[in-house]
Every structure is written in C-alpha cells, then in structure tokens.
Amino acid sequence: MIAKSLREFRRSLIWWTIGISAFMAMYLSIYPNISGNPDLYGAQALAKFPGALRDLMGGLQDMTSGLGYLQSVVYQLFVPMLFTVCAMLIANRAIAQPEEAGTLELVVTLPVDRRRLLLQRFAAFALGLLAVAVITLLVTWALAESVALGVGLDRLVAAHTGVYLVGLFFGSVTLAAGAASGRRAPSLALGGVWAVLGYVVVTVGQNVEAIAWLKWISPFHYYATGRPLYQGLPAGDYLVLAGAIAVLVLTAVLAFDRRDIGV
C-alpha cells in the first residue's frame, strides 16, 4: 500500500523536487553578486526597507554574509512556504482527493483495516516528502559549496530538518482535515490559512502584544526561534513539532475510522 501510494505521488514529488532545487539554484547562484556589493545590500541599505517588510522577511540582517543570505532568502520564508504548499498538496492526495474522485471507494473495501490504511497513506506521504527534503538538501549543499557560502553541512541539515517538519506539520493538518471531512478544498484552505497566519504571527506579529501569544500554535515559532542555521539543531523545538504531527495523525486516524466514505 505504501509503495502503491508513493507511485501515485511520484510525479508531483519529482516536479516539486525540481522546482525547489531550481529555486535554490537561482537564489544561491546570485550570492556572489550580493556579497561583492556590500554598499547595495549591506546593513545600511537594508535599513531603508520599511520595518514591517523587514519583519516579514525575518529581519533581513546581514545579507552579505553567507549565513545571513541563506537565512534571509532561502530558509526564512520561501523554502518553508514551498515545502508547506508541496506537503499540503501531496497530503491531500492521500484521502480527500481520491475520495472526491471516487477511487477511494474500492480501496476502503480491500481487506485492510481503516486505521492501518490511513497510517500507510500517511507514511507514504511522509516518506515522499522526506525524499524531496533529502534531495533538495543535497542540492543546496552542493550549491552552497560551489558559491563558497561558508555554511557547514550540519547547519544546513539543522535548517532543512526544520523545513521538513514544518512541511510535515501542515501536510498533517491537511491530511487530518481530509480524513475527517473527505473534502479537498476545505482541507487545503485550513492548512493554508494556518500557515499564512502562523507565519505572520511569528514575524510581523511578534511585536503586537494582542496576537504575540498566538506564536505558540504557529509551527514557524518552533522552526525559527531556534535559529537552526546559526545555532544548530534545536532538538526541543523540533520535538514539539514532531509531537504535534503525531497528535494530528492520531486525530486523522480516529476521524477516518468512524466516518462514512464518499457520501
């Protein structure tokens, strides 16, 4: 079942890997231009950006160093968002999409327990996303070496693990919503809204007292505050994410097990 699910996901997994790698290649290949022009991209220049925009981009400190550049343009916003969208779309193909298409009907009448079926679909999704993460990590590392970014593999692994977990988290949100409702669009919307608001809360919202507390339910908080690229793997934060994912999957299992399919 896992192998069969992975075959279903294969094409979109490949395209996402290509897309994210291309994104990395494009941004990392212009790094030499930026590090070579500190007047244009240095701290004083960046200070001219409006404050809110700077916050949204994670502060935009220090674009001319390898670490700062990588954090600002790659790991702050774009790559986590790409992973999140990729994860949500693939997670939706686990239950909600085949249910709407009608192909799930025959699958649930196979001699496989419902709970097991859902766990296998989740496992396929998690493995598929892991493959995307590993390949794009290797691409990033190769590119970082080629433009002499000066960031060690261990830090890249730390940041990429966080990206993977954030993706897995939002994928699990979508999967759980799909398992509970059987509907594609609302599941995607739930994950998407949570992702956008979650990101805004930990960036722009961190200075707004009324909403700052919401950071606790934003996965980006556990990804970004540890500053994995600067300080290495934040084990505690990542464990929180992993725990949240486990809770979501459990919710999905329970919801899927007690529901009518395809009505």
């Binding site: 079942m1 069969k4 075959r7 279903e8 094409r11 298409a101 009608g102 192909t103 009907e105 025959l106 649930v108 009448t109 196979l110 001699p111 496989v112 327990d113 419902r114 097991r116 007690r258 009518d260 399919i261 395809g262 009505v263």
Partner: protein, 303 residues
C-alpha cells in the same frame, strides 16, 4: 447453512434524508440474488453498508459470518462499485496486480484469462479507458480472487451485449461452484435470467423478496389461439384465470393469470392450428409492485 448476508433492521439516514429503512434480509449460500429498484431507492446504500464503506444508523449486518467491521473478511468478497472510478497514468494491469496482492495474491494467469474472456486491454493507462472498458476492469478485479461472495452494483452498465452475455456466463459459473452473488440493477430484464431470487427495494424499503420462478408462474401472460374454424365465444366464457377474452372468428386472444390449464382444456374441444404464448413480462409485475405497494407505502408515511 448459515446465511452469506444477514441484515437485521438495517437502517441508514444521511442526516435527515432516508437512505435505507429497516432492511431485514438473508442471502443464502450459492444463490444469485437480484437486488432491484429505481435509482436512489437504496440499493447502493445497502451494498455500501455491507462493505463497511458507510456505517448503519441502526441495525446490524453480518457478511460471511463476520461483522461488517472486520476487515479480513473482505478478502473473500469481490466488489464492483456502481460508479467505478479508475484514474491516473497507472496501467490497468498494475492496478489489478496491486488489488490482487492486497487480497492475498491472485495468479497473473487468472487475470489474463479474465481479460481475454471480456476482451479487455490491460496495457492502457486507466484514465484513457472508456466507460465500458473501465467496467471490464471492474469486473475482472471483482472476479479475479474467486471470492465467496460477489457484490456487483449495476454490473452491466456500459457493456456491449456480447460482453454482457459473457458476464452472465461468469455469474452462472460462480453459482455452479457454490459461491454467492448479489447483483443490483434498476432493470429487471438484466437480472431475471440469472437470479434465483429478487428483492425489490423502493424508497429505502424492501417491498418484496420473490423467487423468480414463482414470480414467473404468477405472472400474467398473453395467449393467442388460432382454430381451423370460427369458435363460439361462449365456450371460453368464465374460465378461471382467463381475462380480457376476445374471440374473433377463428382467433382468440386473452391474458392468463396463473396456470393456463382451464383454457387449454376448453380449447381442446376444437382444432387448434396455432398457439402463441408470450413470455410473462416480469417487468410488468415489477412495476405493479412499485405502483401498488409503493403507493400504500407512501400513504403510511407520516407527512
């Protein structure tokens, strides 16, 4: 012998909308059970309850001696959904192999043999298959693991007549090997020639379960007799079971309700040159169930 399907008080509501009301039904081993009713009557609801795709609001059902929630028993069931969806770039052969593996293994030769019988091309990506060809793939996957119980929801939709014949042969083979078939249809003609019994469902209720042979015996049939000379109408008056009698010269037409014995004996006094007896039109009986019992049913329902 224990029933293959035993439903008791099986009821399903979708919110406030009634899908099926209080179904009590037994399907016996080795029979072909035709499940009839117009679209939306509750046929598919029943079938999906048997397969645990949906859960009953009330009542319970046992299939092959197990509760419907027990997943393992579904390895012994072959299921053709009423609206079969096959998608994607995957070839039909790969999909069938996958389904076979999950059900505990199906020899590739058996899949090929079925494909040949139904004239199905397994090398085509499934999204490129026409409706009829998808239906063939659906039939192959339902039959291929030689299940003890076949549940076929509107199996003949989209099949051309030749393949339909082959399909009916396959169904008879299943019965011959002592296995059981439940097939639904909204057209009696599709199931009457293979079914041992038919259940008629209407507006969510099972209104009748009939033995097909008995149904046929009860049926009205039109009879035409031709004699070598004009016959007197009085000779055929007031015969039991004879209705709509019309005698015109040497010809006689009527409909017979039940046995033709009295008519035959009355006709034997004259010289019969020609006799035509139409096959009873079960469709007509079927419609009678709908119009009569159906209307009673509606009247009993609270508004």
């Amino acid at each position: 012998m224990t029933a293959v399907v035993r439903a008791e008080g099986l009821t399903k509501y979708y919110g406030r909308r009634r899908g099926l009301e209080d179904l009590t039904l037994e399907i016996r081993p080795g029979e072909i059970f035709g499940y009839l009713g117009p679209n939306g009557a509750g046929k598919t609801t029943t079938i999906r309850l048997l397969l645990d795709v949906i859960r009953p609001t009330r009542g319970h059902v046992r299939v092959l001696g197990a509760g419907s929630r027990e997943a393992a028993v579904r390895a012994r069931i072959g299921y053709l959904p009423g609206e079969l969806a096959l998608e994607g770039r995957e070839r039909a052969a790969d999909y069938l192999a996958f389904l076979g593996r999950v059900r505990g293994g199906v020899p590739a030769a058996r899949i090929e043999a079925l494909a040949e019988r139904l004239d199905a091309d397994l090398s085509v990506p499934m999204r490129k298959l026409s409706k009829g060809n998808k239906q063939k793939i659906g039939l192959i996957q339902a039959f291929m693991h030689e299940p003890d119980l076949l549940i076929l929801d509107e199996p003949t939709g989209g099949l051309d007549p030749l393949v339909q014949q082959e399909f009916l042969t396959m169904v008879r083979e299943v019965r011959a090997s002592g296995r059981t078939v439940l097939m639904s249809s909204h057209v009696l003609a599709e199931v009457e020639h293979v079914s041992d019994r038919v259940g008629i469902v209407r507006a969510g209720r099972l209104v009748a379960v009939e033995n097909v042979a008995a149904l046929r015996e009860k049926a009205m049939r039109r009879v035409e007799l031709h004699f070598d000379a004009p016959v007197p109408a009085e000779a055929f008056a007031d015969l039991p079971g004879v209705r709509e009698l019309r005698v015109e010269g040497a010809g006689l037409r009527c409909t017979i309700d039940g046995r033709p014995d009295a008519l035959v004996k009355a006709a034997a006094r004259f010289t019969v040159v020609h006799l035509v007896s139409e096959e009873p039109d079960l469709e007509e009986i079927f419609l009678t169930y709908y119009s009569d019992e159906g209307r009673d049913d509606d009247r009993q329902e609270p508004a």
